[in-house]
Structures are given as C-alpha cells and as structure tokens.
Amino acid sequence: MSQDSEQTTASDVTISELLGAVKGFLMDSALPALSGRDQFNARVAANVLGIIDREQQVGPELAALDAAAAQQWLPGDSGSGTALQQLSRALAAREVDADTDFFEYLKQRQLLVAAINNPRYASRKVAEERWRSES
C-alpha cells in the first residue's frame, strides 16, 4: 500500500516541478545556444518562472491579508475593483486613516510581495529583520 502511494507520488509532477523543469531547459539547453539579446532574455525568462512559482505558493496568504484589510479599512460599499484598488482609491481620496495599524498591514503585505518578486533585493533583508518580528 505504502509502496503504491509512493509510486503515485513519484509519478506526479507538481506545478513547481514543471516550472523547475522549464527553468532547467532554459538555463542548461537554450541559454548556451543563444547569444546577445536572446541569451539575456533567456535568463530573464528563467527568473520569471521563479516569480510564478513563488506567487502560486505565497499568493493565497497575500490575498487573505488584503481581504482582511479591505474588511477593516473600507466602508461597506466601496464601489468596484479589487480590494487593492479600493484601498488605493480610498487612500488617494484621503478616506483611510493611515494609522499605525494600516502601516503595519502595508509592511506585512510588502514582505510577501517582495518574497514573490525579488527575494534577493538587498532592502528585503533589512525589512525582514525589522518587520518579521512585529507580525
């Protein structure tokens, strides 16, 4: 029984693994065969696959954080658009009290966004050290 389930698991290929396989093709096969702008773009494309992988892992946590923020800071009928758009427009109209709690929300969401888009960005380490303990 356990052998069967291990075989099933071994035969499945997750989204992350698929992305890893495509990344491997780009970096190991395509990139050395290309030159100039195309070679540069192959490297960019491989990085983009990393963004996709991280977004599908972290995305749900981010969406939950934004939904909770919309609940807390938006009035009942806030018009159309996503929670982020409604929050942005309410800020632009100065209808949100951008207090300590709201700043805290922005910081926590930004830790997740940075982890998705550019985990190696130097400021992220600073932000992680300062803000992670606050959450």
């Binding site: 800020l91 951008a98 922005l106 969401r109 930004q110 940075a114 300062r130």
Partner: protein, 337 residues
C-alpha cells in the same frame, strides 16, 4: 528592425553625416548592447572609430495613447542637452549625428564612444577601481553641481520649469491611469505631498544620474550617460536620486550609489555649486526616487501591454515591489529619526 536592415540604413546615412568628420566607408561590427529597457543602444565602428547609436525602437505614435507614459525626452532633445553639457567639464560623449522620427532609421542619435567600465557589478567590487570608488562620490557631486549650473534658457522648449504640486499631480494621474493597483505607492505619494520641502528654484537636472548610468575608469568618473530623463527641478532631486536604495546594487552601507558617503557627495557638490545642500532634503528625494522607480516599473508594464517590448520589459513591471519596499522602509526611518 533586424541588424542587417539597420546596417543598410546606417551605411547610407553615415556616409553623408560623417563626411568630413570621421573617415570611413562602411559600418563594421554592429552589435546590440544588453540592457536599456526603453531605448536601444548599439555599438559600431566607422573607419575604425568606435561609435554608439541610441535608437528608440518604437514610434511615438504607438504609445501616445498611453496615459502618463514617461518615455522621457525625444532623442533629438536628449542629444541637444548632451551638446549643452559639453560646454561644462562634465564628461559626456560628442554627438555626431541626430535623426528624427521621420528618418528611416527612426528617432536616434550617434555619439562618440567613451572608454570606461559601464557595468556597476564590476566597478563596484573590482580592486582595479578601488581608487576610483574612493573619489567617485565627490566627483559625482562636482559633476552635478556643474550640470545644475547650465543656463536653463538654452534648453529645448520641451524642458520647462515645473513645481512640486505639478509633479505630485502628474504622479497621481499616473497612479490612477495605471489602475490604482498599489496602496503602497499611493501611501508613498500621500506622504511625499504631506512632507514636501519648501519650493526651491528649478535647475537643469540630469534626471537619471545613478550608478548604472556612469562610466568609470581607474581615475573615477569617466562619463555621464543616458540623459533621456533630463528635466528641471530642485537640485537635491538629482542628489537624492543617486542615493536611492534601488541604485546601490546591494551595497546599502554606501548610501551614494553603493560606493560613497553623503558627506563626500555634498562636499563635491558644494565645491562647484557654491552652496551646501541639506541632507534631510536629499533624503526626502530618495523617497521620491523610490516612488519614481515604481512608476517607471508600472510604465514598463503598460508599455508591454501596448505591444511594445519583450520579456524583460514584462519582468521589470514586477520590480515595482522594490520601490514599494523602499518607500515603506524610508518613511519608517524618517518617522523614527
């Protein structure tokens, strides 16, 4: 446009434009340089003389419907500003030929090649540039002081004076046009409006004076490149821009471009400008620079959606998160100071 097409067009044009200036009969070694999400940069040689071509790869018409686009100046105006800068001792390339949008080559200009290292990841770390790095913040201050002394009455008509209120309104218009997708960007703009410094006189700003646009040799600053974002504004804007986190290439401990300290930059600036900028105002403009970088990223996303650009441009749109992170970090530092 393919390299072969461009070669044919350039061979025709350069025989005429370079006659009597640079001897040669045929273009050689045309090569597209990497980077440059906005304009193309090509290296070529003409009769053995190395030259650089800057070219806008799409027509202005294809993006003029794009609300709030910040493509910067036309290349024709950019070339005119570089020519003005040659009257100072700021190191800039000579302009050899200018083509407007009606030319088959497209909007472009041809300039001299300045020897030096343009890749920050090299000159920020290699031992060869150790002396250069120790001088560079002061030299950048000197160069900015000289650029800011250029007589604004000589500028192309498109580069006019502005006010902070107009800048805020333009940024707000862009955030709306780009779909109001970022509460952090909006929070940053609100903060900048609420903490605006006293209105200062406008000077000619380079507008994109950052580590990635400097040419460096063993003696220090060898060239100031990429004048496409030149505009008028308060002097501290250029200084703060050079210090923005995003342009420090990971060397956060060196606030000036990843290589120097505030004191050296300010001293260099004072030596040519004749006055000493306030550090707090420079730091305000660092936050403004973070917002501007976020807007550039959003513009790249919008340009890509309009059918202009490759995977790099699409990917740059995601780098907005760097700007957002810095906006929050810097505002927190300001509030805690």
């Amino acid at each position: 446009m393919s390299p072969d097409q461009l070669t044919a067009l350039l061979n025709n044009a350069l025989s005429e434009h370079l006659a009597g200036k640079i001897s040669g009969k045929e273009l050689m070694q045309l090569e597209r340089l990497s980077g440059g999400a906005n304009n193309e940069t090509w290296r070529l040689t003409w009769g053995g003389t190395p030259l650089i071509l800057r070219r806008r790869p799409f027509s202005a018409d294809s993006v003029d419907q794009l609300e709030g686009n910040i493509l910067g100046l036309s290349l024709v105006d950019e070339a005119a500003v570089i020519q003005l800068a040659t009257s100072t001792s700021v190191p800039v390339p000579d302009i050899h030929a200018v083509f407007d949008a009606s030319h088959p080559i497209g909007e472009a200009f041809l300039m001299g090649f300045i020897a030096g290292e343009s890749i920050p990841q090299k000159w920020l770390v290699d031992d060869t540039y150790e002396v250069a790095r120790s001088r560079l913040a002061f030299q950048c201050g000197e160069a900015l002081g000289r650029i800011h002394s250029i007589d604004c009455s000589l500028l192309p008509a498109n580069i006019g004076p502005t006010t902070l209120d107009k800048r805020f309104a333009a940024a707000q218009k862009r955030l709306h046009a780009f779909g109001d997708i970022s509460p952090v960007m909006q929070f940053g703009l609100n903060w900048l409006i609420d903490h605006a410094p006293t209105e200062a006189p406008c000077v000619l700003l380079h507008g994109d004076f950052r580590t990635g646009n400097l040419l460096v040799d063993e003696q220090g600053l060898a060239g100031v490149l990429d004048w496409e974002l030149t505009h008028q504004g308060p002097a501290e804007e250029d200084l703060g821009y050079l210090c923005a986190n995003v342009w420090r290439f990971g060397h956060l401990q060196n606030p000036v471009g990843g290589f120097g300290g505030y004191d050296e930059l300010i001293a260099g600036y004072a030596s040519t400008a004749g006055w000493t900028p306030e550090l707090s105002t420079i730091r305000y403009w660092e936050i403004f620079a973070a917002l501007s970088w976020g807007l550039v990223c959003q513009t790249m996303g919008a340009l890509w959606h309009s059918g202009n650009g490759d995977v790099e441009r699409a990917a740059v749109a995601r780098r907005r998160s760097e700007a957002e992170l810095d906006i929050l970090l810097l505002i927190e530092e300001w509030e805690n100071a």
